[in-house]
């Protein structure tokens, strides 16, 4: 892009940089604000009296003797055992991503390589499946799951999340596989490979950029899900998001909002590490050009 002949005119470059900077502020500011606020007490951070107390931390100082306190983190991690929810979340995410990608890759590959008319209809049906509001699905699961005695445990939730996520995974992987030239596996089949061998030897090595991106979305779905995890997991198996929601209190009883804020910040840290770690795959992988048409 940055070849000398195509260098941006100055005005445009300034405009583009300004736009990106504005966007970054919009995207990141709420999180820095939350990070800052997580070290205050509720009345300061929510600044019901005046927003500047969130900066100065008057009440925090009054209560803890310093404008910064780790009380929210202590409460969330030690008192409420947020760590268990973190472990549960990672178990759920790991298995959801693996299962979802395994069966999704097979299905998406098949859809992209079969020219019959039913593949179109299968894709359409998958799309309709995605249109069902998850809360309705989940309330339908409750009764059978209780009867089969599988309610509340992690494997059930994992399978449900995989299934709910399949339509999206299929669509995404289907498009990625379509951009991998058919000649590749056709020629492997001419050389005497079965379809599966062709898939394994020729397609698998070049499919990673698409798979990583799809995996990222599967991960986010599992990580962020509330509708399924809130209703299908028992208290001790809860993942992070329902756990955070449970800190917020109910009509008749006071919650512990600062635990929730500290937990929100804690829940974002692994995402930060993950994206930093996979950044090269996400950016570099896509750049590698395996998806060049």
């Amino acid at each position: 892009m940055a070849s000398p002949a195509n260098r941006m005119p100055r005005g445009l470059r300034i405009a583009s940089t300004l736009f990106i900077v504005t966007w970054l502020i919009m995207a990141a500011f709420p999180f820095f604000w939350t990070l800052w606020g997580s070290f205050k007490v509720e009345i300061d951070f929510f600044s019901i009296a005046d927003w500047t107390t969130a900066l100065t931390g008057d009440k925090t100082k009054e209560t803890y003797g310093s404008p910064i306190t780790g009380a929210g983190y202590y409460g969330a991690w030690v008192q409420e055992e947020f760590g268990r929810a973190v472990i549960n979340t990672f178990i759920v995410c790991f298995f959801v991503v693996c299962t979802s990608l395994t069966i999704g890759t097979l299905g998406g590959y098949a859809l992209s390589r079969s020219g019959f008319r039913y593949t179109f209809w299968l894709l359409m049906i998958a799309l309709i499946f995605r249109a069902v509001p998850p809360i309705t699905l989940v309330s339908g699961y409750l009764l059978p799951f209780f009867e089969w005695n599988v309610w509340g445990i992690l494997p059930t939730t994992i399978i449900v999340l995989v299934a709910i996520n399949q339509p999206f995974t299929l669509w995404m992987l289907h498009s990625f596989f379509q951009s991998i030239p058919k000649e590749l596996d056709e020629s492997a089949k001419v050389d005497g490979c079965t379809q599966f061998q062709a898939f394994r030897r020729v397609i698998i090595p070049v499919m990673w950029p698409g798979v990583v991106t799809t995996g990222l979305f599967s991960f986010l779905l599992a990580y962020n899900d509330f509708a399924v995890t809130a209703l299908l997991l028992s208290k001790e198996n809860q993942t992070m998001v329902p756990k955070i929601a449970s800190f917020l209190g109910t009509t008749q009883t006071e919650g512990n909002v600062m635990f929730a804020v500290a937990a929100v910040v804690s829940a974002t840290v692994p995402l930060f590490i993950l994206v930093m770690f996979f950044q090269r795959q996400i950016v570099g992988g896509l750049t590698a050009g395996a998806v060049k048409g």
Binding site: E42, F46, E62, K235
Partner: protein
């Protein structure tokens, strides 16, 4: 000195006896219920029992899973902790059993008024009570030269004085969030005006009347003195406003009083001046504009008799008078024998003393409550008349009640 020691010793023996209380069960106990400290205390008490497994799943989503979790055979949950608003759902689905025999056998420590009976059969055991009542800021009322209000009319007039004197811009608070909270405020106000929700003996609504209109008009008048975002304020947000010192008077849950007076959460001046009072009346009526609530536990129908007996014993142990130590006493307004009201409980007791109306245990009240929460919003926003809003509530309720088979 000697007396003090004696008292201490007797308390020690009491606590000790509770820890070693002979609670021997033979069966499975599995609890589902809401999550707050008082219920945790009860569940922990139940877990003291030995001889059988005692599990508890306490979550804010308990109402969504309890019916499904008790429908199987055998039921996953052997007991559900519910309130007077939610017991109807379990009875409608026929998943809880009458427990008269168990009360006779194992319920020696229960008071008569803890037993919830329907058509002469004991269906649940109540252990704590709750109600909304007035809270006010002594200092602001003094500055404005006001007496604590006994009626909503006085509250309204007081709010005007406080605003005119420039003491507070929005002196009133209230959990008026659209949905359940707003519906509940209507219920209070309607009961205060002497209204009846249904035609006697039927499921037909009867709220579109003078009492209903008066209730709505009073709510609208009060909302003029609230934070303009009042339709987004649930009781959490209202409490926060109070703690920050922005509000002088509000009608609030008894169970939320303790944190308001916590110096770590509230401004100093708020802690010192927050005063609890009895609920107010409205429109010249004598019934206070509030509802009484209880929380209690039930026993599932689809379980073996051994498990039912174990469940009853364990839960009875959880609310045994011997469990009431100084820590547990502050968690709720207990209905348990021997409970000494704490300062945070005076509002709820005052409500009960004034013969406040309990929240109705009708099978279809939940549908009306939902309809109210959704349909009176337009009136509160000034988009339609009170009569139209009430007609909409009745229409929405009727559609829902027909679907659930309560109306033909």
């Amino acid at each position: 000195m000697f007396l003090k020691k004696l008292a201490l010793a007797s308390i020690m023996t009491l606590t000790a006896s509770s820890a070693f209380a002979a609670c021997e069960i033979s069966g499975r106990v599995s609890i589902v219920g809401n999550e707050f400290p008082a219920i945790h205390a009860v569940a922990n008490g139940a877990k003291e029992c030995s001889g059988g497994e005692v599990k508890a799943n306490l979550t804010a989503d308990h109402q969504k899973i309890n019916v499904a979790g008790m429908s199987g055979n055998p039921a996953e949950y052997t007991t559900a902790i519910i309130a007077n608003s939610s017991i109807a759902a379990l009875m409608n689905e026929n998943v809880i059993r009458p427990i008269d025999d168990l009360v006779a056998k194992y319920g020696q420590n229960l008071k008569k008024n803890q037993l919830i009976t329907v058509s002469g059969k004991v269906m649940a055991v109540a252990f704590m009570a709750n109600a909304q009542h007035l809270v006010y800021r002594k200092d602001i009322l003094e500055k404005a030269g006001l007496q604590p209000p006994k009626t909503y009319e006085e509250m309204l007039a007081g709010a005007k004085v406080i605003r005119d004197k420039g003491l507070l811009q929005n002196p009133l608070g209230g959990a008026y969030k659209a949905g359940w909270n707003l519906g509940q405020e209507f219920n209070n106000m309607y009961i205060g005006h002497g209204g009846e929700f249904f035609k006697p003996g039927t499921a037909e609504p009867s709220i579109n009347n003078e009492a209903g209109v008066a209730a709505l008009k009073m709510m609208k008048a009060l909302s003029e003195y609230m934070n303009p975002d009042f339709l987004t304020h649930d009781s959490n947000a209202t409490s926060s406003e109070w703690k920050a010192g922005n509000v002088a008077m509000m009608n609030m849950w008894g169970s939320r009083m303790e944190p308001l007076k916590d110096p770590a959460q509230s401004e100093k001046v708020v802690v010192e001046n927050t005063t609890l009072a009895s609920p107010m009346t409205v429109g010249g009526g004598s019934t206070p504009a509030t509802t009484l609530w209880w929380d209690g536990w039930t026993v599932a129908k689809n379980i073996s008799d051994e498990d039912a007996a174990a469940t009853f014993q364990a839960m009875a142990n959880g609310i045994d008078p011997s469990q009431l130590d100084s820590e547990m006493s502050t968690l709720a307004v207990w209905l348990i024998d021997g409970y000494k009201p704490t300062p945070a409980a005076v509002g709820v007791f005052a409500a009960a003393k004034m013969n406040a109306t309990p929240y109705p245990m009708l099978p279809f009240i939940g549908l009306l409550h939902t309809a109210l929460g959704a349909e009176i919003v337009d009136f509160m926003l000034g988009k339609e008349s009170a009569e139209q809003a009430l007609a909409d509530v009745e229409a929405a309720y009727t559609a829902a009640a027909k679907e659930k088979g309560f109306l033909k």
